[in-house]
Every structure is written in C-alpha cells, then in structure tokens.
C-alpha cells in the first residue's frame, strides 16, 4: 500500500544482473543465471525521516542506493516517489524533476569529484543542468549557501580550489554541498563517512542531522556499521544477500534484535568498556555467499548459529514482532 505520507516507497524491488554464460553453455541453451543483487525489498521512507540501510559488503545495499538515484534500473518491483511511479522513467531530461528532489552523497569523495573542475563548478553543476538559477549572481549565491551549510566557511575561499587541494573531510563536504545545492527532499548517502577519520566523522554526521532538522530532508543512510546507524537513524533496515531480514525503529533493532543476523552484527561490534551482552551468540563465520548462488530456504542458514531443518527448506516471510518491527526468521514471533 503506497502511503502518500512517504516520500519514497520501494515495493518488492528486484535487481538481477544477468550473467554472461560461457560459450559452451550458451550453445547448449543452458541459462547462465543471474546475480540477484537485490531480491525483493519493501521499504518506505517518510518525509524528513532518516532510515539506515545496514548490511555487509555484497548485501546489495549500494545497488538499492543506485536504483533510488536512477543509476541502475530495477528488473522487478516498483519504486514510488511521492506517490508517483518512477520505476521506468529514464533519460536525463525526463528525470530532471526527479533529480531536483533526490540527490546522493558518495563514499569516496575524491573519486566523486572531477579532478579538472573547481569546487564552484562542482557545486554549480546540478544548479546549471537542472536549470534552477536564472543568472550568475543567483548561481554564486546558491553555491555559497550550499557550501556554508555543508560547513565550508567562508565559502568564497573554496570557489576556485581544485579537489586535490582539499583535505578528505573538505572533499566530503563539497560532495554534500553539491547534493544540497538543489535543496532535495531525499538524499541517499552511501557510506558517507567510512573513508573519513573518526574525528571528522562526527562533524559530517552532524551536518547531515542538522540538514534534516533545518530542511526536513529525508535521508537514506547506507552503512555497514550498526552503531553508526543507531546513532543517526530513526529506523534501521538490515539487508542480507539482497533481502531485508529485519526492519524496525533504531532502538528496537539495535537493543532488541530478533533476527540472528542482526544479533551477530551487533555482537561483531567492538565495544569500549567490557562485553555487555556479547555472549549470546558466537561471532559470524564465513563470508556472505555469492548473490549468483543464493542458498535454498532462508538465505542466512549456512551461517546461522541457530538454524534448523525448516530453515534449509523454506524461506521465512517477514513477521511482525513489535510495532513497526518485522523480522524474517522462523524463530521470531
């Protein structure tokens, strides 16, 4: 059910990347299969809400971000933005109104900035290509405003700089300023602080939280770090191998996890000052399986410490375990 109060709504979203089979297989007409990067996700983000998408590398969290920012095309399901179906909208001019409202912050700020453009050009690019300003004076104002709200003061000092002249934190602020410049309603932040020093992390997170407070901007915060997600988010969605295994309010998911994977993620986090509540389950073994060969039954069962026969045969549906808190596990009730 699409809720008009939600800014973004993903319904049973699938992204499968076809595998190019070997010549021999293709000649015999054997299907090569697909990488099921995202395999049926239902997620909604309310206005001004911060939702964290937590998962290991290979869980498909970046692909979800790329679908929302229209860098990747879903192979199934729907994506509603503000009640409108955006699933099949393509092309830079058709997407212009959408780009105006949804922006992205990248993990690697150095890669995300064209080394041959100045900070001014970088931040001005969306304003220019989305035709949001009338003249140069207004453009300079908007760019300065965006840089200032991303914490680069005084903004004028940064206009003529090139990315290689900035520190890592400053680069990430430029990326944020570029996303802010168009005053979007939703920002997808893909691991925005994982490349930064711990001391700078807090400042960048503060910038993001302030934005929500000031402009009622929704944020999808993609991370592998559960404590970080708890710190910033209203709700947390835990992704494992292309499927959401648990979703609920940040406190519920962090302190009352109902899926063994969430429990394992929490226990894998080192804590300063003793191991309170760490002895419940042993640490996670092994790697996330390849999304090209998703295990039968519950996709977490090969690594699950409490798996039993049913888990190997049947995939558990999401079960409501509390208000707004669902977990996809046979043991969760």
């Amino acid at each position: 059910m699409p809720d008009t109060a939600d800014v973004l709504c993903l319904e049973s979203l699938h992204v499968h990347f076809p595998i190019q089979g070997r010549l021999f297989d293709r000649l015999r007409g054997r299907p090569a299969g697909a990488v099921r990067a995202v395999d049926g996700i239902d997620l909604n983000i309310g206005r001004g809400e911060i939702v964290a998408l937590v998962g290991e590398s290979g869980s498909g969290k970046t692909t979800v971000g790329r679908v929302i920012t229209k860098l990747a095309q879903p192979t199934g399901g729907r994506m509603l933005f503000d009640g409108r179906d955006m699933t099949s909208v393509q092309g830079s001019s058709a997407l212009r109104p959408y780009r105006h409202r949804v922006q992205m912050i990248f993990q690697d700020a150095y890669q995300a900035l064209n080394p041959r453009h100045t900070v001014f050009d970088i931040v001005a690019e969306p304003l220019r290509s989305l035709r949001l300003v009338e003249d140069g004076k207004q453009l300079a104002e908007r760019v300065g405003e965006a840089l200032a709200s991303a914490g680069l003061n005084p903004p004028g000092d940064f206009f003529a700089r090139f990315p290689h002249e900035l520190s890592g934190g400053q680069r990430q602020r430029v990326v944020i300023a570029g996303a802010l410049a168009v005053r979007p309603e939703l920002i997808v932040a893909d691991e925005p602080v994982s490349m930064l020093d711990v001391s700078i992390r807090a400042q960048i997170l503060q910038v993001l939280v302030d934005l929500r407070a000031k402009h009622n901007m929704a944020l999808l915060f993609i991370t592998h770090d559960l404590p970080l997600a708890w710190l910033i988010a209203d709700r947390i969605a835990v992704l494992y191998l292309g499927k959401l295994v648990e979703i609920g309010s940040a406190d519920e998911v962090t302190f009352n996890p109902r899926h063994p994977y969430t429990v394992a993620l929490r226990n894998a986090t080192p804590q300063i000052g003793g191991n309170v509540g760490r002895a419940e389950l042993p640490a996670l073994q092994g790697e996330v399986p390849s999304a090209a060969r998703v295990p039968k039954g519950c996709r977490f069962h090969p690594r699950c410490p409490v798996a039993f026969d049913r888990c190997r045969e049947e995939e558990p549906p999401p079960v409501e375990v509390g208000s707004g808190h669902t977990a996809a596990c046979w043991l969760a009730t």
């Binding site: 064209n114 080394p115 969306p126 290509s129 002249e165 934190g169 570029g178």
Partner: protein, 310 residues
Amino acid sequence: MSESTVRYSPRGRAGAIKGFLRRFLGYGGAQVGLVCLMFFLIVAAVPGILVGPLQTAINATGDFLVPPSSQHLLGTDEVGRDVLNLVVHGARISLTIALLATVISLVLGTTIGMTAGYYGGRADVWLMRLTDFFFVMPSFVLALVITPVVLEVMGRGGEILGLRPSLFVIIVVIGMTSWAFVARIVRSQTLSLKERTFIDRARIAGSSNLSIMVRHLLPNLVPQIGANGALVVAGAIYVETSLSFLGLGDPLQPSWGTLLSLAQRAGAASAGAWWCLGAPGVCVLMVSLSFVLIGNALDDTFNPRRRVIP
C-alpha cells in the same frame, strides 16, 4: 572545525601548467623536438620575407642544376629554380596539410572513440568494427585509391580554403584514414573514466550524456589526445610526402613530397644532384622526428608507466 585549518599552498590551474612544463621540458627529446619544430614553424609562417616569392620555371633565377654555392645556398633544380626557395615555401604547404589532416583525424577519432566507449553496447560494437576496418586498411593504399577518384569528381581547378583541390583532397583523405588509432586510445581511456564516481555524480546532477562527454570526459582525455595528436602529425607528414612523391601533389603549390617527386623525375639522383633530393628529404625527416619526439615526451609526461610505440 579541525580539517579546515589544514591549508594547502594555493596551486590552481597556472601552477598545474607550470609543473607540467617543467616535467615535459625535462625530457631531452622534447627540447630537441620543440627547437626544431619552432624553426620550421617560423620558416613556414613567413616564407616570402625569407626567400621572396615562390619561384617557377618562368621567374627562375639560376642556371640548371647548379651545386650549392654562395648565391644558391642549396643549389638549383633542373629548371633553374632556387632549391632553398622551394624548400622554404614547401614547409608551409607540408605543415599546413599535416596539421589540418591531424585536426580532422583527432576530431573524428575522439568523437567516435568517446561515443563508442561511453555508450557501450551496440554503438560500441558497430563503431569499433568501423574503426577496425580503417585500422587494418593500410591508409596509404586507401589514400592512393581515393585521391584520384575524388579529384576526378571535384575537378582540379579553383581553390578550397586557399588550397588547391588536390591538396585539399589529400588533407581529407589523410584525416579520414588516420583516426582509427586515435579512436582506439580514446575509447580505452573513456571506458576507464566512465566507471569513475564523478560520472555517476554528474548523472545525478542532471547532466545530459552530451554534457557529461564534453564537460567531464573530454577534459580528462586531453593528455592522451595531445600526446597521440603529435604522433598523428608525424604520420600525416609521412603519408603526404609519399602521396605527393607518387604524383598526387600539386605542382603549383609544391610540398616537400612534390619537390622530391619532381627531382626524381628530372633524374636528379643519376645526375648526381644530391641537393635537389636531399634538401626536402632532410626537412621531412626532421619535422617528422620532432613531432615523434614531442609526442613521446608528452606521453611520458602524462603517463610515465605507459609507453606507446606506434
């Protein structure tokens, strides 16, 4: 704000250019190439001031096949024209043809390579098959076949852009047959560039494909295009000289190749008139060499790990 206190020395575009020049000029080959090229460019710019108007059989000043002397520094040819005069005027024709052909080649090669690399898929496959065709086709043979046909269609009279039709055809033909090399290099570079995150960012910023190619890809391709452009010029001079030597040049606007052709037909070699063949020959050699030296130095400067030997 701790990270804002980190200040880097202001080093903008001007600083980057200065740094590039320092590294570029550090190569001996670049210095030799540049000096040599400057000399020929000056000669080509003001031939009239240096040696007077182009001599023809009518206003030739000397005797037939006079060896080099104080009056004719490079001797005279079989109709008494001063070889120095011909070579200096030939510099202008040869360099103009080579540079214009290179411009055509770079524009075509960059457009096709960038389009193929950026769009990928079917566009890539077909554009690259086209490129392969021109790549394996010996450009010299193709030029040799196309030139007389086009000349026949267009006629030999009049002037196009201040050049005789035969020279204009040579420019177009060289440009059309030398872009495949550029297209391949530009495509490979585009393939790696388009995976960079800043291209994703540009797309999210709402930039169209054209603007991503022009504003994001092209500036990052300039080093490769520049370095290979210099090598294309060297190739163009070689092809132009060969075509003219085989008689496709224009006697009214003689390039170095045309001079070689005329000297050869007059039997300069057997008559022992080495100056007639030697002067334009050495010029072709020196200009090609300086472009290759500059191209290799540019290539080393931009990308020290890769070395192209075309």
